[in-house]
């Protein structure tokens, strides 16, 4: 059932318009959130909006890896204990956070800021590929950690062609069954690749 919209206040309607512009937030949830904010102490609401404004206005991007950062160089790129000759290429800030959370990676990153997607009008020049190419001169290995869909594969292949002339080793994430996954529920493509790319059993 469509929710008819007769707002008692223009200000409320404008706030609902703004909040419902967020991804995954419908107008009904936006109304609920707006009325919630209306009930909060004024300083809490200002604290809320200032935190968002400050994020957008003051956040910096690391001049090496393009990761968001509070400084010119991010915490990872300024960490001398990390391997600065291994560069892991990811689509987004969130991917860096996910990989960092595994605790398994000790190299540095390169954030593309998106993925090549003609349908969304995103071409190679919209990404930080040129910056990556210039970093690759000093690297020993570039890990392409992009998603496994067509756009991810296209972007991986494009980057591979750009950086392979430098002779750097290029790798990509292992694909296969997840740990604990049941064969019965695996999709055929994943299962098939898991067999082809089988590994030596290490008990």
């Amino acid at each position: 059932m469509a929710y008819k919209e007769n707002y008692p206040s223009k200000l409320l309607e404008e706030a609902v318009d703004a909040i419902s512009s967020l991804p995954g937030v419908g107008r009904r949830s936006a109304l609920r959130l707006a009325l919630h904010l209306l009930k909060q102490p004024q300083e809490n609401v200002h604290h809320f909006t200032k935190a968002i404004d400050r994020l957008r206005d003051d956040v910096k991007y690391c001049r090496h890896c393009m990761m968001i950062s509070d400084d010119e160089v991010c915490a990872i790129c300024s960490d001398r204990s990390r391997d600065h000759r291994t560069i892991c290429v990811v689509e987004s800030v969130r991917d860096v956070m996910s990989i960092e959370n595994t605790g398994q990676y000790h190299g540095v990153y390169h954030v593309l800021g998106g993925i090549i997607s003609p349908i969304n009008g995103i071409g190679p020049s919209d990404l930080t590929i040129r910056e990556l190419v210039s970093r690759v001169q000093d690297a020993t290995e570039v890990i392409l950690a992009l998603s496994g869909d067509v756009e991810g594969e296209t972007t991986s292949f494009y980057i591979y062609r750009q950086i392979s002339p430098s002779g750097v080793k290029v790798s990509s994430l292992a694909r296969g069954l997840g740990f604990g996954d049941d064969l019965e529920y695996a999709d055929e493509l994943t299962l098939g690749r898991s067999i082809v790319n089988r590994q030596i059993f290490k008990p």
Copy 2:
């Protein structure tokens, strides 16, 4: 699985803190929304936060019915074609919007701003009951349109005792099976009350 939190930026962490303070928004969704806002043009983000600040700073409450409004008197209370002697008492702004959307009510409202709830520390003095009592002098009917739970019933009963000395007619919403409801799935209490409060069949 808990989501470990290693934010690459203090500003990002503060924005996630702020966004996840909204009801129903977890830290993971808050991160997604923060990174979405970070990708938007700066003026869009400022438009977003200003709409929220303006709502909180500039919205007014109708001096008759306490509904939110852009003016001192809301659109409903300033509509001379409505029946100003029938007052429908509701908990919240959203309830007014819901009843208005039915198109079935032509009286005015009184927004309590909450419901008596000892467990949440909300007593009668936190609501606009005194303002209601002073309005009742000129009314012919007060409709108690509060929720059917214990808190709603308590609040209805409290208001009834406050306003009944004035001799005004006090009514409450009809309760029964919803239109189109199947008997099989109705709860016993609703079905029982529907039989007790049965109505003359009007074919």
